[in-house]
């Protein structure tokens, strides 16, 4: 019987040698005369174990990792003989880091061949769409609304309400747009699912099209993700070949097709109205809201624009029912969140779990602390526009509202860990500098405020009139927070103010009168 070996083709695995390992395993197989099929999957998200390779056995898949190309012959021997090996991790599903997760959205990621519609269907794929096609538009919208799903891009807006608004709008045509401009540092869940299970995104978008009456969708992927672009295009082609995209989907009366568009290195295009401008072929300048994209979106038509993970959550909700999804989570944060552990961290990767787990559990327990072995000093949650949390706030549960109460945000679920070598004044400066470089320039608080912010923080770093300049920074942050058109200028104050509040000692000596009251 042909032995089946699985090696990830995820960019994160390829970046640490997965291609070379796959080739070396094939060579080892040829040398030994054993018939082998090497299947390139996505990543399971256990990045410290990448390149991780798996072999199908009667007990299920057995994993080895991290495997270097030089290890391939001995790993292959251990696979064929079923013998012990120092890199053998045991049955993949029993690896504690994976077993502790609740994988609803990422259930197939790392398991299937992302370019095969058959493999997708064999693993419960397209059950959501099949059920959606038996429902009315209202019934689909009710399912999405009662699931409690909130936009996973960062803002957390209820997905069902957005879809209902578009469904109720009348127009000659409507659009479904997937925001795959995942620019936040420390986040890679969109990239992973697009590379590892692109059909779940396609299925989610198709269900959206059926629900609101749209026949055309766009996936806007950032140019920094060439592997995701290739994977999405291959999956779209596979879906068209098998009747899941195109005219009369699965024999129904619904038509729906998709096109990938590639960004061009502008961070602000992750903002939904800027993304729509870019899709229309213009500068990615933010639009004032209202009108909402749900009323006047792409080319002025009613548009559902959601993040990759929001669409990817939809098939489970339709297949399993709204309640099955809503049963997970806490408070108003329902379902699961794919959390990304990154930066200076021992066990970095993707950890999908129900809302409610604390930041401390994520960083110390699941993430294993820093890779350098030094104490954790700060964790930035939610990307470049997210707050820096000190250890004293590590009891914060992962939940939209709980983070907001502590002047933070969960954003797209990325956590970047820093050890005690971090200079928080430098990080605050970087936040302002990044905003200055990436500002679209439409509104003054963001365009000018960020530049003045860099200059003022530089003065503080140089020890010039520290107390006065700190007051200027706080004032600037308030202006940006309340006066900016979008989250770029509006949220840049989060990292800056949190650094100031929790790590005041990094901004020069504090005069007695200005000592923090807390």
């Amino acid at each position: 019987m042909t032995m089946r070996i699985f090696v990830s083709r995820d960019a994160g695995a390829v970046a640490v040698g997965a291609d070379e390992v796959a080739t070396a395993l094939e060579h080892a197989a040829i040398k030994s005369g054993v018939a082998v099929e090497v299947i390139r999957t996505g990543s399971r998200g256990l990045y410290w174990l990448e390149p991780m390779v798996e072999v199908a056995t009667s007990q299920g898949r057995v994993a080895f990792g991290p495997v270097a190309a030089a290890d391939a012959p001995s790993v292959f021997e251990a696979m064929t003989a079923g013998s012990p090996h120092p890199l053998r991790l045991g049955v993949t599903d029993e690896i504690p880091w994976l077993k502790r997760q609740t994988r609803l959205t990422f259930a197939r990621c790392g398991v299937i061949d992302p370019r095969s519609a058959k493999d997708y269907c064999d693993h419960d794929g397209y059950r959501g769409l099949e059920r959606a096609l038996t429902l009315t538009s209202d019934e689909i919208l009710t399912e999405v609304t009662t699931s409690g799903l909130r936009g996973r891009g960062g803002a957390g807006f209820p997905t069902g309400i957005k879809w209902t608004t578009v469904a109720q709008a009348s127009a000659d045509r409507k659009y479904i747009v997937c925001n795959a401009d995942e620019g936040d540092s420390g986040t890679f869940a969109d990239r992973m699912i697009m590379e590892g299970d692109p059909l779940v995104v396609i299925e989610g978008m198709t269900i959206a099209g059926v629900a609101v009456g749209a026949t055309k969708g766009y996936i806007y992927i950032r140019s920094e993700y060439p592997h995701a672009v290739a994977a999405m295009n291959a999956a779209i082609a596979a879906a068209r070949r098998t009747g899941y995209l195109g005219e009369r989907i699965l024999g129904s009366s619904h038509n729906f097709d998709l096109e990938v568009r590639v960004g061009a290195g502008a961070y602000v295009c992750g903002e939904e109205t800027s993304l729509l401008e870019s899709l229309e072929g213009r500068r990615g300048i933010v639009r004032a809201k209202p009108p909402l994209p749900a009323h006047k979106g792409l080319f002025g038509r009613p548009t559902v624009i959601n993040n990759v993970l929001s669409f990817a959550a939809i098939p489970f909700i339709l297949a399993g029912g709204a309640k099955a999804y809503a049963d997970f989570g806490m408070g108003r944060s329902r379902g699961t969140m794919p959390i990304q552990l990154a930066g200076n961290i021992r066990y970095g990767g993707l950890f999908e779990t129900a809302f409610g787990v604390t930041l401390g559990e994520l960083v110390d327990d699941i993430g294993g602390g820093t890779l350098t072995g030094r104490p954790v000093r700060a964790a930035q949650v939610g990307g470049p526009l997210g707050a820096y949390f000190p250890r004293t706030l590590f009891d914060t549960p992962f939940d939209y509202e709980a983070f907001a109460v502590r002047d933070g945000l969960i954003g797209h679920g990325g956590i970047v860990v820093f050890d005690d070598g971090v200079d928080m004044a430098k990080q605050a400066r970087f936040a302002m500098e990044f905003c200055a470089v990436e500002s679209c320039g439409k509104c003054t608080p963001c365009r000018i405020g960020s530049t003045r912010g860099v200059e003022t923080i530089d003065k503080i770093i140089n020890g010039e009139r520290i107390a006065e300049n700190l007051a200027v920074v706080e004032d600037l942050c308030n202006t940006m927070k309340f006066g900016s058109l979008c989250a770029l200028g509006g949220f840049t104050p989060y990292p800056v103010l949190s650094a100031l509040k929790h790590f005041r000692e990094d901004f020069g000596p504090a005069p007695v009168t200005l000592q923090a009251a807390e």
Binding site: S185, E224, G348, E438
Partner: protein, 158 residues
């Protein structure tokens, strides 16, 4: 190694435009295709795109200059992009960027005098769990340390 890019050619430019100008909002698609063919977006292409899409030259120029990806002149023979975002900073990316600048004798955003290597910052390759990361001519590299970076720089200089 010779350049993989074609020299600018008006007929070829026109053919690229004709391939895409029926798409909705085609400007970025065409600019990407130009850069893929020629390695940069040659100046004469701008008015050609404008006239095909019934836009003003200023509008197309505005789009071209808004996005970091588009080049107005060819890059070096190899392009080495180092991720400079927070996750890579947390994992020692600052020191590696300084090391690459010193080895190549150029600062980020510039091309070496012999036109062999363009060194650029990039803000997140999504390889944040295997940081610090880099991309050499489209090939991704993670878990950079001094020796892996040195090997990458040497490869780019060849």
């Amino acid at each position: 190694m010779t350049s993989a890019y074609e020299p600018w050619n008006e007929a070829r430019g026109a053919a690229i435009i004709a391939e895409h100008d029926k798409l909705e909002g085609a400007t970025l698609v065409i600019l990407h295709a130009m850069q893929e063919a020629f390695g940069y977006v040659p100046e004469p292409a701008i008015p050609m795109i404008a006239s095909a899409l019934r836009l003003s030259r200023a509008e197309v120029h505005g789009v071209f200059t808004f996005y970091h990806d588009f080049r107005s002149e060819p890059a070096g023979r190899h392009v080495l992009k180092l991720c400079r975002a927070e996750a890579c900073q947390a994992a020692g990316g600052d020191a590696l960027a300084a090391r690459a600048e010193a080895k190549l004798g150029v600062s980020l955003g510039n091309t070496t005098a012999d036109a062999r290597v363009t060194l650029e910052p990039i803000y997140c390759l999504g390889l944040c769990a295997t940081a610090p990361s880099a991309m050499l001519d489209g090939r991704v590299v993670g878990r950079l340390d001094e020796s892996r970076l040195d090997a990458l720089v040497a490869e780019a200089q060849r």
